[in-house]
């Protein structure tokens, strides 16, 4: 292991030793029979999911960095006949729940629990109790039912699997709508909703209580999306032209807000980001970058994700954080 001496300035806890193993190989998982096409990790639940070109999905427990044995495959899921293109676990937002529980404890005059498991056990609400056995969360129960794994393949099919502790990895449902490869899956615990985007230029919303399709929309070009707190954010991958109009809440920044709340549909909002209320399926806002605000020409949207209360937008060679609320979106 390569170590590097360095001077450490005062640094917020937790501090860790400066060690740069630079990719020390722990294990090689070689039970796959086709090329890997998709990997997904849920750190809180301790789940690693691997999808391959032959449509097989394998579920492993995650391992700590000092693990002495390679993780053993927990489930091998067969059903897809084309390459796996997207994977997500429909799990409660444990970090969010943890924060709410700590807030509640603080309000009650108690110190937040430092230990994750203890914090989980004290929690009340959607997550009843969680312990970890062999890296995979055991006994996890949610208001929405069993712990589900959602996988999508290049033929457009989405499958839901029961990966609860004592389940056998049975396929719960097959969600069929897309006709080409599904590129993105996003899950919102608040609304128990799944969103999918595919190369068929369509975006769909699914109710995971009934596995019924709530919403579908044609969006020219391939899209990426993310979902949080009943707000779906859809952006067109690739280039879109910045707006030449200034003004709105973000007029001093590189973002403009186009107030379209209540407007019907959002297929015409391909030239930017669309924020859609999952419950009412109406557009809350449309966001397009302003021309000349440190950028020029055509922007290239590459990545959308929620981080805490911010929307992270990866575009071109830059990343923008948008602080979102239901009433307004202000660039940070």
């Amino acid at each position: 292991m390569l170590t590097r001496r360095a001077r450490l300035a005062p640094c917020p806890a937790p501090r860790q030793a400066w060690s740069l193993p630079a990719g020390t190989l722990l294990f090689t998982l070689a039970e796959h029979r086709a090329a890997l096409t998709s990997l997904y990790v849920h750190s809180d639940l301790g789940v690693l999911v691997a999808g391959t070109a032959d449509g097989t999905v394998r579920v492993f427990p995650t391992v700590p960095a000092d693990a002495s044995a390679a993780p053993l495959c927990r489930w091998t899921l067969h059903g897809h006949v084309h390459a796996i293109s997207a994977i997500i676990v429909a799990a409660p937002d444990l970090a969010h729940e943890r924060g709410k529980a700590d807030d509640a404890l603080a309000d009650a005059g108690e110190a937040p629990a430092d230990d994750h498991a203890a914090g989980q056990a004290r929690r009340r609400g959607p997550v009843a109790a969680t312990t970890t056995v062999g890296g995979i969360a055991a006994g996890l129960s949610t208001a929405a039912g069993p712990l589900r794994l959602l996988t999508a393949s290049q033929d457009g099919q989405i499958r839901a699997w029961d990966v609860s502790e004592h389940a056998s990895g049975v396929c719960l449902a097959t969600l069929a709508y897309h006709t080409r490869a599904v590129t993105t899956l996003a899950y919102d615990p608040a609304s128990n909703t799944l969103a999918s985007a595919a190369l068929d230029e369509r975006v769909a919303l699914w109710d995971l209580s009934t596995y019924g399709r709530l919403y579908r929309r044609y969006t020219p070009g391939s899209s990426t999306l993310t979902l949080r707190d009943s707000v779906l954010v859809v952006g067109r991958m690739g280039g879109f032209a910045p707006s030449g109009v200034s003004g709105g809440a973000g007029s001093s920044s590189s973002w403009d807000a186009d107030f379209t709340a209540g407007a019907g549909g959002w297929a015409d909002a391909a030239a930017g980001l669309s924020l859609v209320d999952v419950r009412t399926r109406t557009v809350l806002r449309r966001l397009v970058p302003l021309q000349g605000a440190g950028r020029g020409g055509t922007e290239t949207l590459q990545h959308l994700a929620f981080s805490d209360n911010c929307l992270v937008v990866g575009m071109g060679d830059a990343m923008t954080l948008l602080r979102l609320s239901r009433s307004r979106a202000v660039r940070r």
């Binding site: 390569l2 640094c11 190989l25």
Partner: protein, 91 residues
């Protein structure tokens, strides 16, 4: 950013480390110096690279472990490096 002669297909950012998967099968972990990635401090990653292209990648932020999937039909499990506050490091 250097360290690979092949196209970088997959990139993740984790605890101040850019994890890059390349078409050559190399997995590079590049610490960020300030706000810019710098060359990997170790070329040893090449020794444990995939025999085929890196096709997918995931990071376990809790355990600081990086998982990479390759066209060689394997998943490599590797430590991402216990880096903390890299911008405050001075070599």
């Amino acid at each position: 950013m250097t360290g690979s002669n092949a196209a970088v297909w997959h990139v993740r950012l984790h605890l101040g480390v850019v994890v890059a998967g390349c078409a050559s099968g190399h997995v590079l972990l590049l610490p960020i110096d300030g706000d810019r990635p710098r060359r990997s401090l170790q070329d040893g990653a090449a020794a444990t690279a995939h025999a085929g292209s890196v096709t997918c990648m995931a990071v376990d932020a809790r355990h600081h472990v990086v998982y990479t999937g390759g066209a060689d039909r394997t998943v490599k499990v590797r430590v991402s490096g216990a880096l903390c506050c890299p911008t405050r490091l001075h070599a």
